[in-house]
Subunit: 196 residues, 2 copies
């Protein structure tokens, strides 16, 4: 079978979670291979052998991130009974996530690599694509049940995406969960005007 050869001494899933922690804390360019090597408990050669490169490791980390930290807001958006309640619950779930005591206080999608050297441009493009996907998910949810008029779909999806991204920077700057609540209230206050 595929079990020939010397067995791996590390657990790939665990190593990936450890890599996530470091990238989450320092961003893409702020994390070096020796940071990763130390956090994952394996030599850089093993990182290359299994994960490919720093960039490929980061892409796998972001997939894990989307499947874990990204899931509660996505679920809230999906499961809300009306578009309005779904968006409201998504904003709440986002605020919960980015003020969670065990994690850095921001969203990796938004702040892991907004600027940087020319050579890391592909990583920024990759994150920009993920953010674009986020806006499209919001738009699809607004359109799903027909309770938001068609001409309002683009403005509103962009507006609530802007809110999510702004919240992330608020949290990064030390805003607490209670301090984010009125921002969400403000953001939802516009709903009736917008959906008309």
């Amino acid at each position: 079978m595929g079990t020939r050869g010397r067995p791996r001494t590390f657990d790939p899933d665990l190593a990936l979670r450890q890599a996530l922690d470091v990238f989450w804390e320092r961003g893409y360019e702020g994390t070096s291979l020796s940071d990763l090597s130390a956090a994952m408990g394996i030599r850089s050669a093993s990182i290359y052998a299994y994960f490919g490169s720093k960039e490929e490791l980061f892409r796998q980390v972001m997939a894990l991130y989307g499947a874990t930290a990204g899931e509660p807001p996505r679920r809230a958006l999906r499961d809300g009974p009306t578009a309005r309640e779904a968006v409201h619950a998504m904003l709440q779930a986002t605020a919960d996530q980015i003020t969670h005591p065990e994690h850095p206080h921001y969203c990796m999608l938004i702040l892991a690599a907004p600027t940087g050297t020319v050579q890391n441009h592909p990583v920024r493009e990759f994150l920009a694509d993920l953010r674009h996907g986020m806006r499209e998910e919001i738009r699809a949810r607004l359109a799903r049940d027909g309770d938001v008029p068609e001409p309002a779909l683009d403005p509103m999806s962009r507006y609530y995406t802007t809110i999510v991204q702004g919240l992330s920077i608020q949290a990064r700057d030390g805003a607490t969960r209670p301090e984010l609540e009125p921002v969400i209230t403000c953001a939802m206050a516009a709903w009736d005007t917008l959906a008309a």
Copy 2:
């Protein structure tokens, strides 16, 4: 007087503007001293002799940035006849600024150094302080003429700061000036509900 010694061959004001361009495009950590040296047309030793260090140069660059790119939104906030019109005009001026064809499409305050290596923590603190000052300016304007009730000051100032920061990421991701306009409309739609 102070004109002893060999005269400087570069114009400090021009050099600072050139440094601003590079930092603006690549962020703090994404810009190297050789990038700066090339853009400013002087050797790194001269940068150290006149500006102190990379970090001190960056702080001077941010002062210039605040006095130039930061001025139109600040003026709009100051000169608006009512709090509502002032905030509205500030959001418009911000959107103008971050989609200006001659500059990178984002606000340096927000994206020049959101994450990074441990050793550059002071730079992130510095930018966080500037962002905090932005929120306080908005709060002071809301309070100035008494047309916003006191309990609404904190939520509203945080809310509109969130909008400004979210807009910056929208622009970074390619949103055009016309696409930002409905976001501003959405953000202002909540005003009457909030101020009540």
